[in-house]
């Protein structure tokens, strides 16, 4: 039992909560200043990482299909994309493509490729390889409509090979997020040989990329092994190390048992502990007992929001109740109670690192009395058993959970209980969970995606882009739907930043004003690194650049 008291020289977490101008997404990642001062990086060593668990619903490591964050961290270092994104400014910077031109109507993108890039099987990366990649992805998205990569490729029609290192991509309709999409792992370019294999084979690891590491072995639910690629020399601009990676290999294990994972880390069996949920202050205190570094990055895309079911006959179809619900959630206590004292309080439907983020903090203050008045006005009167009733029916909201509830879910349940609202947490097995949600038998439901572009919310909340998922259909009363769709279209059909900023600002205002999104907490992704880890750098979408990392033998 580590008994060290809370270390006085508390390491300051760079989590500025300042309002941010639309486009310049201030970097909230922590830059390890000491790393640079520690002299030249040393070669060799294996970086051992422990994640929470593997994706058991969709078991795949094929870049185009994967939405699982942990896999995308790995893929970021195995398969590379045409462009990259500056983690601080969100600006698209060159990578495999040295430069690009976008036509006026935003339907033609021409990329000029680097000439010195080869795949790990030796074949060169040229325009033809890029065309094969895009066309294969398009064919796959047509056969499996629900696959995650499809929205990234929205509007892609075909590609033309101008010359060996120039490719022109034609879109059939405008997609403002397309340029950002080319920087994501989902549109990473694999060797033509990989696209000859079946999707299942790619899912199980038959992927050949140009990245600094090669995928040696993928055992579902057990782990992944990466080995350094010796002749690597074409990192993106965001990387510090221009050439071959310092680490010889990276070993990834899945350890669902939290006490075991922390125990392994404290005993020095692991260099990096990277679970899915943020650390509680107890964890942080324990990690700092071995002077571990706490690395945090707010993930771009929607915050952890609850979306209502306002279908007719549901309790939340009444705007007054929704407004009351918004006021009944105490986000500050949530951040402090469930995670840690200096955990950022969520300020709107988007995380702060999302381009065009606009804070709604003022409208999300905790106001239990306001909530009480609204509920009384709406006719839900509190009885002596503490619950609120309206003509005999108790104010009960149902929220389905998959497999297990977290401490946060129970805290929200209790906060609503204090407002007289019964939040019934329905813990369901995978199969039942999906049928329950698609039958819209829920009152509140949450899901999230990570992408450093606001258009990602469209894949959740825009019925036209979510194959009419129950969540997007039932989230709005008719008049709000019209406003939301207008803002989404505005944000999509233009490539000029000012236009997109105005559209997404309007969108964020509507979501909160009409109370069709209830932000709960900022989705912060935290990892604990051993003191030996140097030059850990977050990418824009919260992944890591393995080729920069090196292990300081001395610490």
């Amino acid at each position: 039992m580590t008994s060290s008291s809370y270390s006085v020289t508390r390491r300051r977490l760079l989590l500025s909560a300042s309002a941010v101008v639309a486009l310049s997404a201030t970097g909230l990642s922590t830059i390890i200043s000491e790393a640079k001062a520690a002299g030249a990086p040393t070669q060799g060593g294996t970086l051992r990482i422990a994640f929470l668990r593997d994706n058991t619903t969709l078991v795949s490591i094929d870049p185009f299909q994967v939405y699982w964050l942990e896999h995308r961290v790995v893929l970021r270092n195995v398969a590379e994309s045409l462009t990259d994104q500056n983690p601080q400014t969100g600006e698209i910077i060159p990578w495999l493509a040295t430069s690009w031109q976008i036509s006026e109507d935003g339907l033609t993108y021409t990329f000029n490729l680097r000439k010195d890039v080869t795949f790990s099987n030796g074949t060169p990366l040229n325009a033809e390889a890029v065309r094969i990649a895009f066309d294969s992805n398009k064919a796959f998205a047509a056969s499996v409509p629900a696959t995650f990569g499809r929205t990234y490729l929205a509007g892609y029609d075909h590609s033309e090979v101008v010359d060996d290192h120039t490719i022109r991509i034609r879109l059939s309709k405008q997609n403002a997020g397309f340029l950002q999409a080319t920087s994501t792992t989902n549109l990473a370019i694999l060797a033509p040989e990989s696209y000859k294999r079946t999707p299942e084979e790619r899912s199980r690891g038959a992927i050949i990329g140009t990245g600094p590491f090669v995928l040696k072995e993928y055992k579902p639910e057990i782990g992944i092994k990466l080995a350094r690629r010796e002749d690597y020399a074409w990192p993106s601009k965001a990387a510090l190390n221009p050439g071959r990676a310092y680490l010889e290999a990276v070993e990834i294990q899945y350890i669902p048992e939290e006490s075991v994972r922390s125990g392994q880390f404290l005993q020095g069996e692991l260099e990096l502990v990277w679970p899915r949920d943020p650390f509680s202050d107890v964890d942080i205190k324990q990690f700092q007992s071995i002077n571990a570094q706490i690395l945090s990055r707010s993930l771009p895309g929607p915050a952890l929001n609850l979306y209502p079911n306002v279908g007719e006959g549901r309790i939340l179809s009444d705007p007054l109740v929704r407004a009351a619900l918004q006021k009944a959630i105490d986000r500050k206590t949530f951040a402090e109670g469930v995670y840690s004292a200096d955990f950022p309080v969520v300020q709107g439907p988007y995380d702060t690192t999302t381009p065009y983020f606009k804070s709604q903090a003022a409208k999300l203050a905790y106001d239990p009395d306001g909530a009480a008045q609204l509920l009384d006005k709406a006719g839900w009167l509190r009885r002596d058993d503490g619950w609120r009733y309206k003509n005999g029916k108790r104010l009960t909201l149902v929220r389905p959970l998959q497999t297990a509830e977290t401490a946060g879910d129970v805290l929200i349940q209790d906060q609503l209980r204090q407002a007289g609202i019964e939040l019934k947490l329905e813990v369901l097995v995978a199969g039942e969970f999906l049928t329950f949600v698609s039958a819209a038998r829920y009152d509140l439901h949450s899901t999230y995606m990570t992408r450093a572009d606001p258009v990602v919310l469209q894949t959740i909340l825009d019925p036209r882009y979510t194959n009419n998922s129950a969540l997007s259909i039932n989230a709005y009363p008719p008049e709000t739907l019209k406003k939301v769709e207008a803002f989404f279209d505005a944000g999509l059909q233009t490539t000029s930043s000012e236009e997109r900023a105005k559209a997404y600002a309007g969108l964020q205002d509507v979501l909160i004003d009409d109370n069709v999104a209830f932000p709960i907490y900022e989705r912060l992704w935290q990892a604990a690194a051993s003191p030996r880890v140097r030059d850990f750098q977050w990418t824009s979408e919260g992944f890591a650049l393995f080729n920069d990392i090196w292990l300081d033998g001395t610490a």
Binding site: M1, S259, E336, G337, A407, Q413, D414, L425, L428
Partner: protein, 305 residues
């Protein structure tokens, strides 16, 4: 010519000396005689009384938890989270600041309910099957015994997982799943006991006295055979609690915020290093309860011999 000999001494049966003959001898039923005797014997075992007291505490917790604690099991006080056991919070507080002792007390209701239901399902189902196969024997016995073998062949916890997934989470499905696992034990015990009693001389005597099998079953076989099954019931009550806590440990317990003992251990295991009392104290409580039940059933067995 010889007077009945009562001076005869046998070390087993206590000699008694009734010379008085009287017409109006009140004839009392055997039942109260037996109960008064067994109770007097039990008083002699201190360990038994301690175990009984603990189980009564658990049953009281299950029936009326409000008597044993003034905290609200669901009220979250995040600022008070992960406090070590103290005079205020006997078992300390959990990750949301709720009083762990209160959650254990309120958990008793769910766990005891699940265990009680499971044992009664297994008791009724198992004993009937065991009775039929022990009493009729032959082909019926063979068929029932193969069925029991099948149920034994299926790994009980895995089967419980499947059943719970089939009929949903919550205390009742858990009870059915656990009951299904315990049923073979009761069937085998009842079958062995019925077969033993069926061959005893007093059953043949009753048979020759003209009694039909129905009457013999009810008056002779069942009372004498059910002794062992009752002892097994107390033993399996503890086992049921363990299996139910295993299920809720894997996340198949009651819907939150209610929590069975297994769920408490499961939630607490994240804090094994930082707040060890969170997973370890509920575990100790469960172990003590099951140990007490185990002790009670063993003492009952010894006394009834």
């Amino acid at each position: 010519m010889t007077t009945p000999d009562f001076t005869h001494f046998s070390p087993l049966a206590p000699a008694y000396d009734d010379r008085t003959d009287s017409d109006d001898v009140p004839i009392r039923s055997a039942r109260l005689r037996r109960w008064s005797e067994t109770l007097s014997l039990l008083r002699g075992h201190p360990g038994f009384l301690l175990a009984l007291a603990f189980i009564l505490f658990v049953l009281l917790a299950a029936a009326m938890p409000t008597l044993l604690t003034r905290f609200d099991p669901y009220a979250t006080v995040p600022l008070e989270k992960l406090r070590a056991p103290s005079l205020l919070h006997w078992f300390g507080t959990d990750e949301l600041g709720r009083d762990l002792y209160t959650r254990v007390v309120y958990g008793a209701g769910l766990s005891v309910q699940a265990a009680l239901l499971a044992v009664s399902i297994a008791f009724i189902g198992g004993s009937t099957l065991g009775l039929f196969s022990g009493f009729f024997g032959g082909r019926i016995d063979a068929v029932i015994m193969r069925l029991i073998d099948v149920m034994l062949a299926l790994p009980s916890l895995l089967l419980a997982l499947v059943i719970v997934t089939a009929i949903g989470f919550g205390t009742l499905p858990v009870a059915i799943a656990v009951g299904f696992g315990l049923l073979p034990g009761f069937a085998r015990t009842m079958r062995a006991e019925v077969m033993r009693v069926k061959t005893l001389a007093y059953v043949e005597a009753a048979r020759l006295g003209g009694a039909g099998w129905g009457r013999i079953l009810v008056n002779h076989i069942l009372p004498n055979a059910s002794g062992a099954v009752v002892v097994l019931a107390t033993l399996d009550f503890g086992v049921a609690i363990l299996v139910a806590s295993g299920l809720s440990f894997l996340g198949f317990g009651a819907a939150p915020p209610a929590a069975e003992w297994g769920t408490l251990i499961a939630n607490g295991r994240k804090f094994l290093i930082t707040a060890p009392w969170l997973p370890l104290l509920p575990g100790m409580f469960v172990a003590l309860a099951v140990f007490a039940l185990n002790h009670i059933s063993r003492t009952l067995e010894e006394v009834s011999k």
